[in-house]
């Protein structure tokens, strides 16, 4: 009984395989296309919004999309597993939001071997790594972090006098985004700021809190904090409130997470910088479908940044609410 049923299953599986192969040669209709979306994580709003943008676009175009992400943040190994499973189940194209910009050489090599087109969203895949995997021209749809931080710097330059005593909280040492945001802010702000302290808080709320405590006690005349992401800014805000300096020290964040938007609304954050993750997802799906069908597609789209202040925060909230599941 058991034996015969397992033979039946094996038989059915082989049939299924045959059916899959038979389809491969035919020209692709949208409803035949299946896209694999390999996300960095689905543990935070930004990446959820990105994935939801991609899903919305796939729905609109009538293509199928599988969305998977590692359960741990920034695990190249987990992402390789996801991409292998996509490839063995014959997806027609891949959208990759890399967990680490240099970490996907093997995954890219396997995609190339199978001839599956790849597009890249949000975090740029390291060009040298992509080239060693044989895919030197992966299209990229995302934000330029340097330009985004520069906008925040320019906003500060327009609001503060020369030599404003500023502390910078940076992201993880070695992350390209961390360096770009720091450098962009400094360039945008120009001589409006005088950097009196600079510390990494590894993108985390609690580390932003302790770093800010230390910076405040070393620099009691501090006037401004640039946090390279909102999390660290939220930590810094708590330290500043505890020190009773809320009215004297301004905070500039980056990422426009929902808590930061609330803080901009209440005036506790001066501003934050919004990216448009849903737009990245939409553009990635749109161009990948074109690539699968052999139509011309865009190699690069800067999805843009925007400084969010009290004046436009409501507008941005409305935009985000479209992409909540």
């Amino acid at each position: 009984m058991k034996k015969s049923s397992s033979i039946a299953i094996a038989f059915a599986v082989v049939l299924g395989l045959g059916a899959g192969l038979a389809q491969a040669g035919a020209p692709k209709r949208n409803s035949d296309i299946r896209i694999g979306f390999a996300g960095m994580t689905l543990n935070n709003e930004f990446h959820i919004t990105l994935a939801n943008g991609a899903k919305a676009k796939a729905r609109e175009l009538g293509v199928n999309i599988d969305v998977q992400a590692g359960d741990q943040h920034a695990s190249a190994a987990a992402q390789l597993v996801i991409i292998e499973n996509f490839l063995s189940n014959a997806v027609d194209g891949l959208i990759i939001v890399p967990s680490a910009s240099e970490g996907l050489e093997t995954a890219l090599r396997k995609s190339k071997e199978q001839g599956v087109p790849v597009v890249n969203a949000d975090t740029l895949i390291n060009r040298d790594v992509a080239a060693s995997a044989g895919l030197p021209n992966i299209p990229f749809y995302g934000t330029n972090n340097f330009e985004g931080a520069k906008l925040a710097g320019q906003f500060v330059a327009g609001k503060f006098p020369k030599g404003t005593k500023t502390a910078i909280l940076t992201g993880i040492e070695g992350h390209q985004n961390a360096a770009d945001r720091r450098n962009g802010f400094i360039e945008g702000a120009g001589d409006a700021i005088q950097v009196v302290a600079e510390q990494t808080a590894n993108w985390e709320v609690d580390q932003g809190y302790t770093a800010a405590q230390n910076i405040i006690s070393a620099n009691p005349d501090l006037e401004l904090v640039f946090a390279s992401n909102d999390n660290m800014g939220i930590g810094a805000l708590r330290a500043i409130q505890e020190a009773g300096l809320k009215d004297r020290i301004g905070i500039v964040g980056f990422d426009a997470v929902s808590e930061a938007l609330n803080l901009v609304e209440s005036g506790e954050f001066l501003c934050t910088v919004a990216q448009f993750p849903s737009k990245m997802g939409e553009i990635a799906v749109e161009n990948l479908v074109k690539a699968i069908k052999g139509e011309p597609y865009a190699d690069y789209v800067d999805t843009g940044c925007r400084v969010i202040t009290k004046d436009n925060v409501q507008e941005h909230k409305d935009y985000l609410s479209q992409y909540v599941d």
């Binding site: 094996a10 899959g20 390789l80 189940n89």
Partner: protein
Amino acid sequence: MSSKAVIGEDRAVGNRRPAWGDMTLYLGAVGIVIAFSLVCLFFGRNFLTLRNIQNIVTQSSIIAVIAIGSSLVILTGGIDLSVGSVVGLVGMFAGALLKSGVPLWAACISALGVGALTGLVNGYLVSVGKVPSFIVTLGIMQIARGLALLTTLGKPISRFPDGLGLIMNAKVAGDMPTSVLYVFSLYFLMMFVMSLTRFGRHVYAFGGNPNAARLSGVRVRRVEMAVYVLSGLFAAAGGIMLLSRLSYADPNAGGGYEMHAIAAAVIGGISLSGGRGRIGNTLVGALILGSLTCGLQILNVPTYCQTIVTGVVIIAAVYADKAGERRAE
């Protein structure tokens, strides 16, 4: 001399779990595969293909190899939480050596040396120092992670020479991934060691009852220390495999692997109280975990639900294994 042999034999017999426990494990594994095959078929996707089977073995191979060491430690009644960090440390260490022009074989041997050394520190502190293994390995877990980050001040290393990738990404005997070869040969070796050598019997004897083992002449410190050294070695082997598979060294690599390895061991029926369980079943445990990940991803089950399913399976496996005990009460 003869008394040693006797107690060893005794324990070796004692480790033979009732066939019932093994049966539930194997049936469970087969059941999962059949269930996935049917559900995948229903949704027009393929699970039981050669390619997927290769994927599952390759994807499980690193945890499977690390879990050999974790199982040995658990058999002595201890736990090794440091293996995930050792994977990260070994990857960075070997990666840095390779980047500075050291040949692949030398980098691999040095990496195994690093693993053995961390194991030796763990083993010494547990067996001679009498510090509980949970605490020792928790500390070494932090230290190894710190050292991994210190190697390059947190920067990952990429773009290695092609030879590195061949360790994991080459094919043998036609189309078989090399990982299959590593996993099966290491498991066969350790199954042999555990059931047919004196060392194996002593591990069971010590895990079953440390005092009785000591009184009957087992050199308990040496056995316990050896087990941690082996755990470090298998973790290092896992670290080299991961480095090769990704061609990428990340100081945070291997985070959480200690838990996956422990999960593989307990699903395989290795008792956390020591002295009971078969090493070969740990491989079944690792493959069950790998099939779950692969199957759930093929079915496009949301990531959040995947971790829930994994948790349920871990508990269900041990629950089913304990059915005999429950009945006895």
